[in-house]
Symmetry: C2
Subunit: 421 residues, 2 copies
Amino acid sequence: MNPALSDLARRTGPPPISWLMATALARPGLVSLAAGFTDSETLPAGDMRQLLDGLLRPPGSSRAALQYGTTAGDPELRRLTAERLLASDGSKAAASCSPERVLISNGSQQMLYMLSEALCNPGDIVLVEDPTYFVYLGIVESHGLRARGVRLEKDGLDLKHLEQVLEQLKRAGELPRVKLLYLVSYFQNPTGATTSFEKKCAALDLLKRYERAAGHPLYLVEDAAYRELRFQGDDVNSALAAPGGSRRVALLGTYSKPFATGARVGFGVLPEPLHTAVVRIKGNHDFGTSNLLQQVLARALHSGRYARHVEFLRKRYSRKAGVMLAGMRRHFPEAAQWEMPQGGLYFWVRLPRSVKSGLRSRLFRQALEKNVLYVPGQLCYAKDPKRPKPNHEMRLSFGAASEGDIRKGLERLGAALAKGR
Amino acid sequence: MNPALSDLARRTGPPPISWLMATALARPGLVSLAAGFTDSETLPAGDMRQLLDGLLRPPGSSRAALQYGTTAGDPELRRLTAERLLASDGSKAAASCSPERVLISNGSQQMLYMLSEALCNPGDIVLVEDPTYFVYLGIVESHGLRARGVRLEKDGLDLKHLEQVLEQLKRAGELPRVKLLYLVSYFQNPTGATTSFEKKCAALDLLKRYERAAGHPLYLVEDAAYRELRFQGDDVNSALAAPGGSRRVALLGTYSKPFATGARVGFGVLPEPLHTAVVRIKGNHDFGTSNLLQQVLARALHSGRYARHVEFLRKRYSRKAGVMLAGMRRHFPEAAQWEMPQGGLYFWVRLPRSVKSGLRSRLFRQALEKNVLYVPGQLCYAKDPKRPKPNHEMRLSFGAASEGDIRKGLERLGAALAKGR
């Protein structure tokens, strides 16, 4: 290791998924059920072309779009973002959600990064779902943070376990190091589980109860990246609508996943003092997300094209989730278990504990040999001294693969499962 | 201060310039010679519209542009970037500059941020030009770094002073905390000074000589953001072409300033292990700059539109620099001093030391009253225990203002100078 590098650089490992991606690219016949991409065929090229043309043709709007904007983001996009959230969350969220609280970022990923910077010192503790979004675990590792996993139930966060974890941390005198609970609340990456509104309210209450012992606010960071991709059941309110949400909830969302991932625009809705802190940090990162991308997304929202595209995506993913479900039923052994997600891009498959699924497992090797790729469940678990990482699960995505490839992939995976055990 | 915030958040102040920008926006009659923007009238709306249309019309290229890319950046843009640099720097740079070393970022600002993360721990020392780019000083402050200023001469860095500073740091036992020398080498922001190639080579040599005492590599971070905006004289080689440059030079550049600031795309050319470290950090920030923006810039470069636009900008800025020069000659007192820059966007004006120019000075107040804004020189100086911040200079930009406004602004500023002393 080069001795000039910072502690942060030393702690920052290669993303586990990069190896999977490189593998997928290097083997053209490979079916990847690993990638969390959206489906290339669904990308709204026509919409984007027309919106950009409309934006860049009149001199007034074209100059504004090609010039610097403000660090917090395009005022119109901030307004539309608040409006859209309020339309979903209703008047209960009015105190939590206003254009002034919105901050536009380079995908929701950058918001997650900046929030971590704004709240956490090395050695601090974050509470995460067990399992959770693995790129967040990369941030945790890089910043020298410690993670504690909170178990999941079918309707999201296991509140009893959350209380246990908080209580243990309190007894260990570690509560002052706890800063936030990170919740991927809709069709969670990786499990597909959705946390109910009641549970969000209860989690906020619980955090509130431990604030005195912590000596500072405990934030609920709600990552709603997949919220728009619901294809079954009714929308669930975000924690912005929960009692007390206006002071303790930082909500993240994105316009790239439900529209065009190549146009990386996400957002946060942040209470003070987080909003001010993160705007300042963003000023140092890049003094504002590309104005061109922001303005084209504002037009997509305003024109209704965005909403229409989301409707189209929902139908498509619903169908593909069905194809995946059918394939698993047909090709997977009895003992494999899963829940049907109500949206998003993922199935989470639990195998018997004796069947290892990690990168070095026989199953993973067999799958690669048969030209199919999945995300080993193990990668989605934080390092937590309280338990070993489970190693018998996998994340399967119906996002990027075509219906034909999903079928083919599951057949191959079924064969690997038959052989790999 | 909210006790949940991190040390980084506590250290991150509001950017000094944000107050200036807000002032400018709030007073419509105000002439801002403060903004480092490019000229809105020069923004290549027609080019962008046609390039985007060409990119988004064929299904193959449109899908690729709207999908995720790789963290390091679009391969074609990386290739074109390396090619363009090699065309300027010649074969001497061949070992320093290849597509594999290029990393695309959200403007060069993000690259500067990530390089700071990759190299510096809180308490570490960076060497900067005195004065330097003030947004970098924001990063320095935010990350808890210390800065040491190195004086400037007409042809850039004062090498004797650089040696003195290194020697002092060595004697104080502080050399192990020094990580890099940050150099804005072309038409520097704020002074307009350009560092000669000979000086870059000599600076690299000097750094090399102190590496043993430092115990690690000392990097030269060359910020070439304004390189393309030359309107007089011949291009100067970057430090990539210097002996030893291939192992110690990190070069930053941008495609936004010379083309469209609303399309924020910059780049770094980094030696190992910096490249690997920064790609990993970028993976956590946002796993890659917007693919759409990258691909449209690749097409701008490939088609020659970018080069033509840069030619046009050079002529335009040359003219505007001339207008500013004439205005200063006409309206400014004898005692005011400046150098004609060979490119970029700025003049740096030195007043007699008795004339204060800071945010709280009589001169600044007078200028505001007369509806003209400049950047007080003081804002561009690092906190350095070795000297008080000079407070008798100003940065004037001919970037954003029209020729008429430049004339008007200088007349007003001349009047303020007559009154403000």
